[in-house]
Amino acid sequence: MKPKTIIEKIWENHVVYREEGKPDLLYIDLHLVHEVTSPQAFEGLRQKGRNVRRPDLTFATMDHNVPTVNRFVINDEIAKNQITALERNCREFGIPLADLSSPEQGIVHVIGPELGLTQPGKTIVCGDSHTSTHGAFGALAFGIGTSEVEHVLATQTLWQHRPKTLQIHVTGRLGEGVTAKDVILAIIQRYGVDVGTGYVIEFTGDTIRNMSMEERMTICNMSIEAGARAGLVSPDETTFAYLRGRKYAPKGEAFEKAVQYWRSLATDEGAEYDKTIEIDAATIAPMVTWGTTPGMSAPVDGIVPYPEQFATETERKAVQLALQYMGLTPGTPITDIAVQHVFIGSCTNSRISDLKAAAEMVKGKKVAPGVRALVVPGSQQVKQQAEEEGLAQIFIDAGFEWRDSGCSMCLGMNPDTVPEGEHCASTSNRNFEGRQGKGARTHLVSPKMAAAAAIYGRFVDVRKLEKEAVH
């Protein structure tokens, strides 16, 4: 048989109906729902007297506009409206919901894996572009719009064209202080924010194989920032070990059987991709974005670039606009950029290992004067674990605010925003204009880099800090 990629295998396993000249009708195994992109879909069902076909394959939580200081006091009437609408919709249609008082609540892309809902081989959708996160488990997971949310609720299927496949092959050892976040930022910086458009990415190579599930999630999470709707990693022992014992993962013998099946999904030796990119891990430095797309970044020991360096007129214009928005002068060393805010959180970097990496950096130190620093765990479970392991106390002692779980300052739909003109080191995934608040200047970085920026009030090369610590 012709060797196949995991992407082709999962796809073929889910085709409900196929006809020449039409997209395939694809079955959806797991549909995750949150409060912002679902109300209009439920309303649509109601208007037409339709039902949710498989509430048992649907799971809802609230994350985007929940307050993270006191989650039960929602002052924003309209946000409250969306949260109560979700409660009502889940009750009416019989959908399981991790609500604000649930110990399972959290960012939808953090709790899916945590609860073991996310599993290899599944097709997973959610009305959110960072659904790509779940690909870390060898699932085909992608974001959809509200009309598609309605379509999946009603039919448990979607009409989809088979995507092209893009292999991103990362090999070699990452340098000290260089993390999964830097890998994905470097990929986007080198190959552009639309390199993955029309493709599903499979991340391969020993660098990826040696990563924990949480690191793989960080990489897959930002596939969408590279233009790809989905990014995934073939499942292996690391994947299975992570899933064993999770609440919704198969149990006992069923688990062993599942592992056998999951193993068979991995990309076959010799399978072909439509496109392949090779990355040498040793060439990657800690990255900092200086502009208003995730592709506009530089190594921490680099400088803010000159627009003239760029090849096309469109790029030069984009860079000029971005620098203007960011208030940055070409030639400025990245380490001279001062920050007034630090945000550690979001579905990219708010898991326990992210908080550990950040806590190591801040332990026994203090947040620089004039810097406001926030840690927002990705889920209530992460929060609890961090408190039990003493991480929370390390942050609090250093002067960080320690919050409840949610999306928070990643998109500032709740009261957490960055004021106009101020700079924020953020572990999230988007640095678009106004993303963290009107006029806010976001710099995307890894948790280590964000923590270090909080202590120094500007960006620092964490590789140097780690050396100093040794001597």
Binding site: G21, S129, E148, T157, T314, A318, E433
Partner: protein, 196 residues
């Protein structure tokens, strides 16, 4: 929503990577209806801090008043999957968006809302961006023939998935259509249940 043939005024927005956060900023995502988003379209670019229209923003220029076709540069609609973006564009009055490339999710979301996304070559887009500066510049989009043309002789064909094209031409509800495949879905579910 149905789309067959449309003639309308063209507005140009010569920027690349216009993301859905710009098309409809997050503070307007909290509504639970599909309508009424037009007045918030491009909010942070369109209005000054005091809420008055920003005279330098392209869509606020008099020559672009009443435009129904938007032309922009590469990777239009990247970022968040929010369908509020095409809702806002359609609610504002746009029937089509032309760009050299679109982000995948946004492209799909447009088709579901009768807003036609059209990919044209970069140099054609540059031509349209230039022409759009004229107040009376109009384009016609003829979906059946997949053609876009102006009075001066510019005419290009564009690609669109034949299935999506049919849905748009007929204005069909996709869920109703999928319900016709119900027996296949049931069969698939049975097969899966037997596997596990």
């Amino acid at each position: 929503m149905q789309f067959t043939i449309h003639t309308g005024k063209v507005a140009g927005l010569d920027r690349a990577n216009i993301d859905t956060d710009q098309i409809i900023p997050k503070q307007f995502l909290k509504r639970i209806e599909r309508t009424g988003f037009g007045k918030f379209l491009f909010y942070d670019w369109r209005y000054l801090a005091d809420g008055t229209p920003n005279p330098t923003f392209e869509l606020n220029r008099p020559e672009n008043e009443g435009a129904t076709i938007l032309v922009a540069n590469e990777n239009f609609g990247c970022g968040s999957s929010r369908e509020h973006a095409p809702w806002a564009l359609a609610d504002y009055g746009f029937r089509a968006v032309i760009a050299p490339s679109f982000a995948d999710i946004f492209y799909n979301n447009c088709l579901k809302n009768g807003l036609l996304p059209i990919r044209l070559d970069k140099q054609d887009v540059e031509y349209l961006l230039k022409e759009s500066k004229r107040a009376d510049y109009e384009l016609t989009i003829f979906l059946e023939e997949q053609r876009v043309y102006d009075e001066a002789g510019f005419a290009r064909t564009f690609a669109i998935d034949p299935y999506r094209k049919q849905l748009l031409l007929k204005g069909w509800d996709e869920i109703d259509l999928t319900f016709m495949y119900e027996p296949y879905i049931v069969e698939y579910e049975k097969k899966q249940a037997n596997l596990t």
